[in-house]
């Protein structure tokens, strides 16, 4: 009797799952959309072939960051509607093993290409895709030089577009400098994942510190230039500490993402130090500092353009924002699609491309608003289909010029 009940329950479970399979998005929905029709006429010359659906897997190491969500929105709510492609997103990828599994999943699901936002083990990802004949592209990141040398000639390695470490370094440098130029001397810093030895954050931090050294005519951990600073930070086990840098001072520093009482306490302590004039964050500064910031204190952050961050800039809580724009991952998509459809974009030596791409920088609310308006648009994003189509099977030169012109105004010109 009870047994019967229970097996009914099993049935119910089955039904649940099946009904889900029903509501899951059907790959063929997107076929024959309006643009598809228009494009198909002269597919071979310009614009990709929309006749058959292309499945592209997307590796994401982080599913909750504003940046990741903005990117996802651009792909799913603009690109996927414009082109006959289906994006398949991975779950949150904590480690290299998770990345490998995710790629396996994509391959099993017959993805033709993979665009990666996950960097736990890029070489492994590339090898895996090469071995399985799946195109692979790096979005918002780059390979190290030796990695590039190793993989540039791989057939299925499309290439990389994104801020290289130097760009990250410069982002930090410029942010600090812009405040230093305004004559501020006393800084508090949030180091993000620096204590976890995360390069991106280490380089941004280094940039800020070098800027301080130059302005203050002093040294930090005995270093004052790019190379020296990176070394010094690793030397210190990536545990930074407050220090006087000539006539500039790093008054307070917090690193890590503990989210416990002590962590909040430390952040509050830095923000509330009467000496601190400017708060700098290598990332997620809005989470770290915005809550504790005092009146008149300045806050600079490297993140992305969201409703919230813009609101913060309007309210003067956030004063400087270097942010990736969500459409910045348009070109890599087109390069990938192009490769999948047999028009790979290779440089003069026939190798995969590696193109640097920086941030949009806003130091006032108006700019930020303008950026966000474009960035969040689902109809007229920074890179529209019309613009991207010009990249289909484009020459390396055209492609590089297009990508390199990433600043807001340059893109505006491209659009015309």
């Amino acid at each position: 009797m009870k047994t019967v009940k229970k097996f009914l329950a099993v049935l119910l479970a089955a039904v649940t799952v099946f009904s889900l399979s029903a509501c899951g998005s059907d790959p063929n929905q997107t076929t024959g959309t309006a643009p598809a029709a228009s494009a198909s006429s002269e597919a071979e010359k310009s614009g990709p072939d929309d006749s058959k659906n292309v499945k592209i897997g997307v590796l994401v190491s982080d599913v909750t960051s504003a940046e990741a969500l903005a990117f996802r929105a651009y792909y799913e709510e603009y690109i996927q509607k414009q082109y006959n492609v289906t994006f398949m997103y991975s779950d949150e990828l904590a480690d290299a093993a998770a990345e490998a599994s995710a790629i396996d999943n994509f391959i099993a699901n017959n993805c033709k290409a993979i665009i990666s936002f996950a960097s736990a083990d890029r070489p492994a990802q590339i090898e895996q895709c090469e071995a399985n004949g799946v195109y692979y592209a790096v979005a918002t990141g780059t390979l190290t030089d030796e990695q590039y040398e190793k993989f540039k000639s791989y057939k299925y390695y499309v290439g990389a577009i994104g801020p290289d470490l130097m760009t990250e370094y410069m982002a930090g440098y410029n942010m600090a400098k812009s405040f230093l130029d305004q004559g501020y001397k006393y800084f508090g810093m949030f180091g993000g994942a620096t204590p976890y030895y995360t390069e991106m954050h280490i380089y941004r931090a280094a940039g800020m510190l070098v800027a301080m050294c130059e302005a203050g005519k002093g040294t930090y951990l005995g270093a004052s230039d790019f190379g020296g600073m990176i070394g010094a930070i690793y030397g210190a086990g990536c545990q930074l500490a407050p220090a006087v840098i000539g006539d500039v001072e790093l008054v307070g520093y917090v690193g890590g993402y503990d989210f416990d009482d002590a962590w909040f306490g430390k952040l509050a302590a830095v923000a509330n130090d009467p000496k601190v004039e400017v708060l700098l964050a290598v990332g997620s500064g809005q989470t770290a500092f915005a809550g504790f910031k005092r009146e008149g204190q300045k806050l600079g952050d490297i993140d992305c353009y969201t409703k919230d961050s813009v609101a913060l800039m309007e309210s003067g809580t956030l004063n400087y924002l270097a942010g990736k724009f969500s459409a910045s991952i348009g070109p890599i998509f087109m390069a990938t699609l192009s490769a999948v459809q047999g028009h790979p974009i290779r440089n003069a030596e026939g190798n995969a491309f590696a193109i640097g791409q920086g941030y949009w920088v806003a130091d006032n609310a108006e700019t930020a608003k303008e950026y966000f308006a474009v960035d969040s648009s689902k109809t007229e994003p920074a890179y529209t289909r019309a613009m991207l189509d010009t990249l289909y099977g484009a020459s390396y030169q055209d492609f590089e010029n297009f990508v390199k012109a990433y600043s807001f105004d340059e893109i505006k010109n491209l659009a015309k």
Partner: protein, 322 residues
């Protein structure tokens, strides 16, 4: 027990902690409570830890382990903050809604438990997953940010936290020591079978326990949300971490409870860990060092707790000169 012994037993640990923390910080030439802010940090931590400790202890004492407390805090703070932002509420309204939401979620997880009649630890795993997923879905993964809602951030003040602490403590003592529910809770706690056979209705009692725990976590969620103005989403059990900070204070509370009132004990336990957190802040200790010390403290105290008898015997022998 003599009143003197009671007082000593009750205050020994907090005072010891205070002394230790004070000495260590002193040795490093740092004043523990230099600024108003240090006090705020301390009180906030105390309130925060106390809420979680109560929430966990209510059910853990009756053998119901609950992985879902963190997710309840997460989801209830998401709900309340979403509403507060949409309707332009002040902190008080948000706090109340957060508590109610928490209570409701707690009730739900309790209801699941009493319906499926599975071991609570299993149920709580599922509930945690579910609530995390729901919070994620509600916010579309974005989490919630009200960093520029000064009104909400403004809640984080010493008097406010003091009020929360006092009210919670009063509430807990009244509910658990002076009401029918409390008496029946105690009976079920140490004599489940007998109590049930005698006609005490366990299910309503359990439901109320979960509801109260939920309400407390609602308040805790509100505090951590308004402390830094954003709510981070978490998936795959990312939400269980707040639970861990409750263990040390819970054991300390249990210990103190033997001399006076266990609720008071939990509060004092929270005070102890808040003092330790403050020390971490003042000395700007790196998180690895933090994790290690906290873990060692927990183990150390447990060892003491579980070997008190032996230790005493040891001393007695010493006195005997054996």
């Amino acid at each position: 027990m003599k009143i003197g012994k009671r007082i000593i037993g009750t205050l020994a640990l907090p005072l010891l902690t205070l002394l230790a923390v004070w000495l260590i910080s002193g040795a490093r030439g740092v004043a523990l409570f230099e600024t108003q802010l240090n006090l705020l940090t301390f009180i906030r931590a105390a309130a925060n830890v106390m809420l979680v400790t109560f929430a966990l202890a209510i059910n853990l004492n009756s053998g119901r382990f609950d992985f879902s407390v963190g997710s309840v805090a997460l989801l209830s703070s998401v709900i309340s903050s979403k509403l507060a932002l949409a309707l332009g509420w002040g902190p008080l309204a948000m706090l109340l809604v957060s508590i109610c939401a928490g209570a409701l979620l707690g009730l739900i997880s309790g209801a699941v438990y009493v319906t499926v009649k599975l071991p609570p630890i299993i149920v709580s795993l599922a509930v945690a997953l579910f609530f995390e997923g729901l919070a994620f879905t509600i916010t579309g993964g974005h989490g919630v940010s009200f960093a520029n809602k000064a009104s909400l951030l403004g809640f984080s003040t010493i008097p406010n936290f003091l009020i929360i602490i006092v009210l919670t403590l009063l509430f807990m003592i009244i509910i658990f020591d002076h009401t029918r529910f409390g008496y029946e809770y105690k009976a079920l706690l140490s004599g489940q079978k007998v109590a049930v056979n005698t006609g005490i209705r366990e299910i309503p009692n359990a439901l109320l326990c979960y509801t109260i725990a939920g309400a407390l976590m609602g308040a805790q969620g509100f505090i951590s949300a308004t402390t830094n103005g954003t709510i981070q989403m978490s998936l795959n059990f990312g939400s269980i971490s707040p639970m861990f900070m409750a263990f040390l204070p819970m054991f300390i509370g249990g210990f103190i409870g033997r001399f006076s009132n266990d609720k008071l004990g939990y509060f004092l336990g929270a005070v102890c860990s808040a003092l330790i957190s403050l020390l971490y802040v003042r000395l700007n200790v790196s998180s690895s060092v933090q994790q290690i010390t906290s873990a060692l403290l927990l183990v150390g105290f447990l060892i003491y707790l579980n070997n008190e008898g032996k230790l005493k015997a040891l001393f007695v022998r010493k006195e005997r000169g054996v």
